[in-house]
Amino acid sequence: MARILIPTPLRQFAEKNDNVEVAGATVGEVLTALTTRFPDLKKNLYNDEGKLRSFVNVYLNDEDIRYTGKEATAVTDADTLSIVPSIAGGAHVG
């Protein structure tokens, strides 16, 4: 099972986990397994068309999956996936 690191802003949608192990042979399968386990993560990771949101980057180890084959990128048990959303400091709403 690959390890997936969940960033601070998204932990509230993942039962406060900072990392979890999920099964999957590709990045897409791992992310599907992740959002099946934590359904609240789904709307934060994917847009209404089911595409990964453009302010959420996914890295396989240190490579951005946009340059390795996107969701089709193969994943092994030794790999670590990171979700890295954009953050912008102190200005808040609501």
């Binding site: 453009s54 890295y59 240190d62 890295v84 400091g89 102190g90």
Partner: protein, 386 residues
């Protein structure tokens, strides 16, 4: 050509710990003195940046800020002091920097950076350091730096985590290569999820300062092409590869952005969001009217939808706590026949909570405008604001 730049004896003594290192030396110190750096923002990141870049002997530093020092800034914005609360940040920052090093020229830009003034301001500097706290200004700084071919030394913080890299250096990747678009306002963390360890922007700001100095000196390996991630809780640094996106709209092969755009609109922020809308008495109630209801002994339930750790900071007497994320699960604790008033810190989360109740058949639901902050302002100043 201007006159040759040299160091006075006072400056030689001041910078002696630089001068005795071969990686800096006289040649490097003169490079620092000849350099100009624009700091966008004098907040959490800008504070350590301003202090250390000044101490290091950058020749000219420009400051962009139009904000005033607020009491809640002091937990992290160490360039400002308690005596500065209420003063323009730019005045307080310049005073601190002048005290540290009178040899540095400090240029004031007491404006909000906008599409109308950004190019004009940035063009006179060699390096831009992004210490802003919001997405529209980040994209504005990025695009302006790409258009003017100025390195953009980036840092960003959230809670216990930070990011830093160098964008737009000699045609390298830019912020839009990393994040083509900002999050929609609804997915930006609210004040419930916000907050920052006060020390964190010190760490990230000084990484930015280090990168700035290295670029000026031409030493070491910069963060160009690498996104550095810092996790203060784990005390771990990681780095990710940052590539230039050939499809980037501002620095890619087929550019669609060739001038500055409307960044508020790009980030989905309504033009007049700051203007207070009139209270809709069918769905909203003022804090003073909630107090009047309590004083009259009206039968109603006051629900606080903030988080438990916020409830510990301050609460309104008589309220019950149901965090916004739990409202849908805990409907059974509320009676649809009761009148229900919901509040949070500022009114944003409680508006969402009201929608949840209405969607579940509750009809007598009111959102208390302005939250506990307005309660403190207009009803009971003994309730602390945070």
């Amino acid at each position: 050509m201007s006159a040759e730049i040299t160091l006075s004896n006072d400056e030689i003594l001041r910078y002696s710990r630089h001068l005795i290192m071969p990686e800096v030396g006289m040649e490097g110190q003169l490079k620092l003195k000849k350099a100009s750096v624009l700091l966008v923002g004098t907040g959490g990141l800008g504070a350590p940046l301003g202090l250390y870049l000044t101490a290091a002997g950058i020749g000219r530093i420009g400051l962009v800020d139009f904000d005033v020092v607020d009491y809640t800034n002091l937990q992290r914005q160490v360039i400002h002091g308690t005596k500065d609360v209420g003063r323009p940040k730019i005045d307080s920052a310049i005073e601190s920097m002048k005290d540290i090093n009178p040899f540095v020229q400090l240029d004031r830009h007491e404006v909000a950076l906008t599409s109308d003034n950004a190019l004009e301001i940035i063009k006179d500097y060699d390096y831009v350091v992004d210490g802003t706290d919001n997405f529209p200004t980040r994209y504005l700084v990025n695009d302006a730096c790409v258009l003017l071919n100025k390195p953009n030394i980036y840092g960003s913080v959230f809670r216990f985590e930070g990011q830093s890299t160098v964008f737009a250096y000699e045609g390298g990747p830019c912020y839009r290569c990393l994040y083509p678009e900002p999050p929609p306002p609804g997915l930006v963390p609210s004040c419930a999820e916000g907050g920052v360890l006060g020390i964190l922007p010190g760490v990230i700001g000084l990484i930015q300062a280090t990168e700035t100095a290295k670029l000026i000196l031409g030493v070491g390996k910069s963060l160009v092409g690498r996104l550095l991630l810092y996790d203060a809780l784990e005390m771990k640094f990681r780095e990710l590869k940052l590539r230039k996106n050939p499809e980037c709209p501002v620095c890619g092969d087929h550019r669609t952005i060739t001038k500055l755009i409307d960044y508020q609109e790009f980030c989905g922020i309504p033009q007049h969001a700051a203007e207070a809308a009139p209270v809709n008495t069918a769905t909203e109630i003022e804090p003073k009217d909630v107090k009047a209801k309590q004083d009259r002994g009206d039968k109603f339930v006051l629900v606080d939808v903030r988080e438990p750790h916020e409830y510990q900071i301050a609460k309104i007497p008589g309220s019950i706590l149901i965090p916004v994320g739990d409202v849908a699960k805990r409907l059974g604790e509320l009676n649809p026949d009761d009148e229900i008033v919901m509040h949070c810190k500022m009114g944003g989360r409680s508006a969402k909570a009201c929608d949840v109740l209405r969607a579940n058949g509750f009809t007598k639901v009111l959102n208390m405008t302005g939250g506990i902050t307005k309660w403190s302002d207009t009803v009971d100043p003994t309730v602390p604001k945070y």
